[in-house]
């Protein structure tokens, strides 16, 4: 099989998400969204075997199972929300959240678009983003890379960015349907690490509503044959990934 020809954008994104949890050790990987969930399970099944994963409710489970299906176990721990808060504040977690807006220094909005007192669109709320971003590593997943998501300034700061004076902020990467970005630019400005195969740098730049740091842009790596097998046969046999990031 010619792996390159067959690989979809969603599969490249799943591997780019998995890379966020490389060599993390014994921490809880908390993915939000289908492709981050595939990525977290892929990471544990390959290069980060010590990760802890939740069944989506209150159990920590072993094994590798399909997205959209119940976890078969084995159960290795009971982690109701209160315990998740405890381990999050203790630093034993790396979450990947989905921001409605994110800016150049990683401030992220999950709360409301427009004026907070009377928003044009009310969203979820702060959720755990303020605590997560000052207590443990955080990454972000953006299934549609658009200027209205990558904004010069977010309307409500839920997830704390690097320009807010909190030293413990540890933002790892932003994975989108177009690219991988991190905060390796001057003053922790957002840096374009790699464009996905088939994506031009110009395409990423025009989909971003602020100036990215562009210097030596790489190409996001392809899945290995083993990773592709795991994604296609074990973790996402029903191709839920294609609903989140359609090809072409």
């Amino acid at each position: 099989m010619s792996v390159n020809v067959a690989v979809s954008r969603a599969e490249i994104c799943a591997v780019a998400c998995a890379e966020a949890w490389r060599e993390e050790g014994e921490i809880l990987a908390s993915p939000f969204g289908t492709i981050p969930a595939i990525g977290a399970r892929l990471a544990r099944a390959t290069f980060s075997p010590d990760l802890l994963l939740s069944d989506g409710e209150a159990l920590l489970v072993g094994g590798t199972w399909a997205v959209g299906e119940p976890a078969p176990g084995p159960v290795e721990g009971w982690a109701p929300f209160r315990n998740v808060f405890d381990l999050a504040w203790a630093g034993y977690r790396h979450i990947m959240m989905v921001p409605s807006q994110i800016d150049r220094y990683g401030n992220a909005n999950l709360s409301a678009i427009g004026d907070f007192a009377r928003p044009s669109r009310a969203l979820l709320g702060m959720r755990g983003a303020p605590g997560n971003t000052v207590c443990h590593p955080v990454s972000y997943w953006v299934p549609r890379h658009l200027p209205r998501v990558f904004v010069p300034a977010v309307d409500v700061v839920c997830g704390v960015g690097y320009d807010r004076g909190v030293a413990s902020v540890d933002l790892r990467r932003v994975v989108t349907n177009l690219a991988v970005l991190d905060f390796g630019g001057p003053g922790h400005a957002m840096w374009l690490v790699s464009a996905h195969p088939g994506v031009n740098v110009d395409e990423v730049v025009s989909a971003t509503g602020f100036d990215l740091v562009i210097d030596d842009v790489g190409e996001t790596r392809l899945p290995s044959a083993d990773e592709l097998r795991l994604i296609r046969d074990v973790i996402d046999p029903h191709r839920l990934r294609d609903r989140e990031v359609p090809d072409g």
Binding site: R82, A122, M126, P130, V160
Partner: protein, 281 residues
Amino acid sequence: MADKRMTADEMVAELRSGMTIGIGGWGSRRKPMSLVRAILRSGINDLTIVSYGGPDVGLLCAAGKVKRLVYGFVSLDSIPLEPHFQAARQAGAIDAAEYDEGMLQWALYAASLRLPFLPTRAGLGSDVPRLNPELRTVRSPYDDGEELLAVPALPLDAALIHLNRADAAGNAQFLGPDLYFDDLFAAAAARAYVSCERIVPTADLADGGFASLRIQRWMTAGVIEATNGAHFTSCDPDYPRDEAFQRDYVAAAKDPVAWKEFEARYLTGSETDYQAAVRAR
């Protein structure tokens, strides 16, 4: 032991307009919906509602009962956004105190321990302090000298929670995967009311395992038997979320005419009428 059994309407008779009321559960999971529906039938309003919010918040907002809302999020879980909450926020109809989820836990925990505040890093650097200017920071008195957010205690006039089982004395039991923060809501409240799927003899509570007996009678003021009382939210293992009903609720909430029909069909009568209308779907 006192017999704390009562009806939902007797509970509502103990509530007053302007009260601060906490509601247990999480999102669209194990919400005391029959007690919320009892409030909808009442004349009380101007409430401050404290919740990890789901359709409890949505219904109370839609009925104009909410003056102030203290929350970490409002979501229906399988449907991310709550339409009535969105409409109320977008109309500027409620005073929104939006906290980090863990801050809300701390506020309830502080109240339950009768402390004025509990310190945390959660909230620092975010817009939570900007949007809630009453919040203060506190400096560690030890060598580290770290500045922390002092989350003020949030005492409740009343708490409403729904559990799987309870006895007549107000001991209650969760049989699902997560207690959520129901014990903190109950302990933070002057009076906590627990609805349950079934009232059982105290001796039967041991069947669920002692670790599930987390709501104890010192926390509770009233017990209301409410079979299917969390509907349409989940109440594992007694029943899952009624996803079809939740979809209908969301569709109706987005259209004023459809919402009038939904109200007429489900929310104008008694709890018995509601359950009959649900069975007749």
